[in-house]
Symmetry: C2
Subunit: 188 residues, 2 copies
DNA sequence: AGAGTATATATCGGACGGATATATATCTGA
DNA sequence: TCAGATATATATCCGTCCGATATATACTCT
């Protein structure tokens, strides 16, 4: 999903600054399936404003830099709806999963075993944190009326993160033992 | 993981053409956690060759275009080992998961219900296919001696894909019902 | 004092990938 | 028959993206 559509989507939920939009991609309900950096968010916002799909109003703040709050226009809402419909083709598009960690694990035989073990444990802890974070957000929001879509995608995120975490936890020892066994065979 | 390191990794498993390296990112053991396009693979191979980390030999073929087969040099093997060690910092790096599908689902309230349902079913079918594909590969390879890392990351892939598939299958109906209920409330 | 963190906007330049181009060959459907 | 699709191959273009950097204000910790 291109960053312009992402920004329109976030703004359709309420006015926001460029910085806040980045936070949504980082810590908000989108964080487990979308990423965007300042280098693409700001140009996207500038473009959307130039196209009349959003408007920005500047606001001074005490003790902080000025901020620009963007709001989606009616044309922007229509553009978002169009973009969504355009993408909902009925043909599934593969989710994009990339893992530097798994790349390292694939070539674990080329690395010292203690580094492999340490990396796995760090990754297990990372997923534990991510799960705790999403679950805490879910508890905080339990009293608020939430979009069905929001609840659904959070459920997916929790299921996927749990699967990843649990597999690492349950197979860590066997994997490391196999790595060790492979080294002994090679030494013989 | 940058494409140069990826190419070195694939070539460390055996000589290959640029096209075959792309296939590994598409259909091979890397496909569920790595993606790379021709636009980055070919320049990366050219750069690696210029740096002396790989060598390419040209080969003519009957009925097909000529091909260039690349092999990793000893310096390339050392560079791969260095790259792996450099990345194995002991600090977990978040896996990068991006899903156009989940973005659509988040904003499902803005779309016609039949399109949402159709999109979910297509995605369920997609994950079914992916799972079948990985499982078939695992069966084919059962008699061969495989790297422990290969088996481990395939296990992660199966676990994650299953979690995604199962959650969609188990929650599809409730989600669509909620979307329908939300529309009736809005109409009242 | 400097590094790190947080809230803010903005840009640079390297990395990436989809589309395109070229080449050879085969198959399918209108 | 021709166009489109598919497969095996190499190669490049250019729009998109993002990490680093820059700037600004303020606070905390070593």
């Amino acid at each position: 999903m291109d960053v312009r559509t992402f920004c329109l989507g976030v703004l359709s939920l309420g006015d926001a600054t460029g910085y806040e939009i980045k936070k949504q991609a980082e810590d908000g309900p989108f964080s487990h399936f979308y990423k965007a950096g300042f280098g693409s968010i700001y140009p996207a916002l500038a473009r959307l404003a130039a196209d009349g799909l959003i408007t920005g109003r500047d606001e001074a703040q005490a003790g902080k830099p000025d901020k620009r709050i963007y709001a989606v226009t009616p044309a922007g809402k229509a553009a978002l709806a169009d973009a969504l419909t355009d993408h909902a083709t009925g043909i599934a598009v593969e989710d994009d999963i990339r893992s530097e960690f798994l790349f390292l694990m694939f070539f674990a035989h080329l690395m010292p075993a203690h580094r492999v073990a340490r990396q796995i444990d760090a990754h297990i802890a990372l997923y534990r944190e991510c799960l705790d974070h999403i679950e805490a957000k879910a508890s905080d929001s339990a009293c608020e009326h939430q979009l069905p879509g929001h609840v659904f995608v959070r459920g997916v995120g929790l299921a996927v993160y749990r699967a990843f975490h649990d597999y690492l936890r349950d197979n860590r020892d066997a994997f490391l033992a196999q790595l060790g066994a492979g080294r002994q065979n090679a030494a013989e």
